[in-house]
């Protein structure tokens, strides 16, 4: 759900725009350190993937369906800096070439859907990874909890922005309750899909999952020999 023009007043839009530009600038530098000259093709392809993945609809009940927002899963799959960059690029292209999300609300959309979801998703993921046992089976679990938390937190940031620069005089407490309630439900879906998707990628190419790198480094090579000798 992209915020359109006019949802927030001009000062709020300018401030979120500056915050978004700073976040994208820092992510560009950090991602370049990590990916060097692979940055453009890899981030571009992953951004195209995020865009396409948002078209994959997951049916809920009789006719309704939802799709992934993808902040937390992007952070776990390609790392937080690259994740912010991918989602920001998606929002930029959607705003300029698909008229989805207003151009004055671009900063707000980046802050809500690229920065907040990735940062919160990654922070929760890393926090849990430190506490929980370090094996690959735990990676999807941590990722899904990160995804679950990231969605209502983003909706809370939206409410906070609305309290500062929203148009109408409505009860902020009521708005917060409604938004967090709805987004907690959306978060459950996001968590389930993130769990399944990260699990399926780990099963095939664990080396591609950024969040699993530390776990994989600690994994020792086990050499198994067949116990039953084949008779010569």
């Amino acid at each position: 759900m992209h915020v359109p023009d006019g949802f927030f007043d001009a000062p709020t839009s300018v401030v979120t725009g500056v915050v978004a530009a700073a976040a994208v600038g820092v992510s560009l530098r950090k991602a370049r350190n990590e990916l060097d000259d692979r940055t453009a093709p890899l981030v571009g392809l992953v951004a195209a993937f995020v865009f396409a993945a948002q078209m994959l609809n997951f049916p809920v009940v009789s006719g309704t369906s939802g799709h992934l927002m993808g902040g937390a899963i992007a952070a776990v799959l390609v790392g937080p800096w690259t994740g912010v960059l991918c989602l920001s690029t998606v929002l930029l292209v959607q705003g300029l070439l698909f008229a989805d999300g207003g151009i004055t609300a671009l900063g707000t959309n980046v802050v809500l859907m690229a920065v907040t979801t990735v940062v919160v998703g990654w922070a929760v993921f890393r926090g849990l990874q430190v506490v929980l046992p370090k094996n690959t089976a735990m990676v999807p679990v941590c990722a899904s909890v990160g995804a679950f938390v990231s969605v209502p937190v983003a909706s809370l940031v939206f409410v906070a922005l609305y309290a500062v620069g929203g148009g109408a005089d409505i009860s902020i407490g009521g708005l917060a309750t409604a938004m967090v309630g709805v987004h907690a439900l959306i978060g459950i879906g996001e968590a389930a899909i993130t769990f399944l998707a990260v699990g399926s990628i780990l099963a095939v190419r664990p080396d591609l999952v950024y969040g699993a790198r530390r776990v994989l480094e600690q994994r020792e090579l086990v050499i198994r020999s067949s116990t039953t000798e084949v008779a010569a």
Binding site: P4, D5, S13, G44, M55, L56, V60, I193, G199, V204
Partner: protein, 222 residues
């Protein structure tokens, strides 16, 4: 709201709006929308004038108005929010058709609807009259970081490749008798999601190697 994105919105043409440099169009859109957003909600005449400006630009661009109107559906979720505002906003209330509505809520709903609608029409006009390549060049002239422009270029270049890949997976699932109806079918969809990620990432690596073998040094000819 990703459902409606099938292909790019460009509408082929040779009008003055099509030929105008992309960086000027992006700047014009930005200045126009900041002006609209900064306009107080109760300056009704100003919103009318803004709409006239947009209608004039669309007329000049020769993009059929129905082309723009059909694609305004992206706005729908926020129309619903705007419709709710007069009911939930606080402050003095007025009677409209037997319903007790908040005055400030009505005004805010009008402001939101007017601004969002103008924003969608203006963005659609830019998207319909600007080719992606021209837009990228324009963004580069606006001093957007080169890496960011390159990332956008790759994303736009491979958008149809990746969405086609997703569509082929859909065809493959359907041809094996799979139809997603409820959350019990999510594991299959999530595996498609995972496969799409792996294929996209690996394609990114191959593209990088192909670029290196053709002498890529970090700069792209756009």
């Amino acid at each position: 709201m990703g459902g409606a994105h099938g292909h790019l919105l460009h509408f082929h043409g040779h009008s003055a709006v099509h030929r105008a440099p992309a960086h000027l169009k992006v700047l014009a859109l930005l200045v126009f929308m900041v002006t609209v957003v900064a306009t107080p909600d109760d300056w009704f005449a100003a919103f009318g004038a803004y709409l006239l400006v947009l209608v004039a630009v669309i007329g000049l661009s020769r993009v059929p108005p129905t082309y723009i109107l059909k694609r305004m559906v992206v706005e729908v979720p926020f129309v619903l929010f705007a419709v709710l505002l007069p009911f939930v906003a606080r402050g003095p209330r007025v009677e409209v058709l037997g319903l007790s509505l908040s005055e400030s809520g009505l005004l805010a709903a009008f402001g939101l609807l007017a601004t969002a609608t103008l924003g969608v029409i203006a963005s659609l006009t830019l998207a319909a009259t600007t080719e992606p390549q021209a837009l990228l060049k324009g963004l580069e002239r606006l001093r957007l970081p080169t890496t960011l422009v390159q990332i956008m270029a790759f994303m736009i270049r491979y958008l149809s490749v990746v969405t086609e890949e997703l569509r082929r997976m859909h065809v493959a699932r359907v041809s094996r008798g799979f139809e997603a109806r409820n959350p019990r079918h999510w594991p299959v969809l999530a595996k498609s999601f995972g496969a799409l990620f792996i294929r996209s990432y690996e394609r990114g690596e191959r593209v990088h190697l192909a670029m290196l073998s053709r002498g890529y040094t970090g700069k792209m000819p756009l």
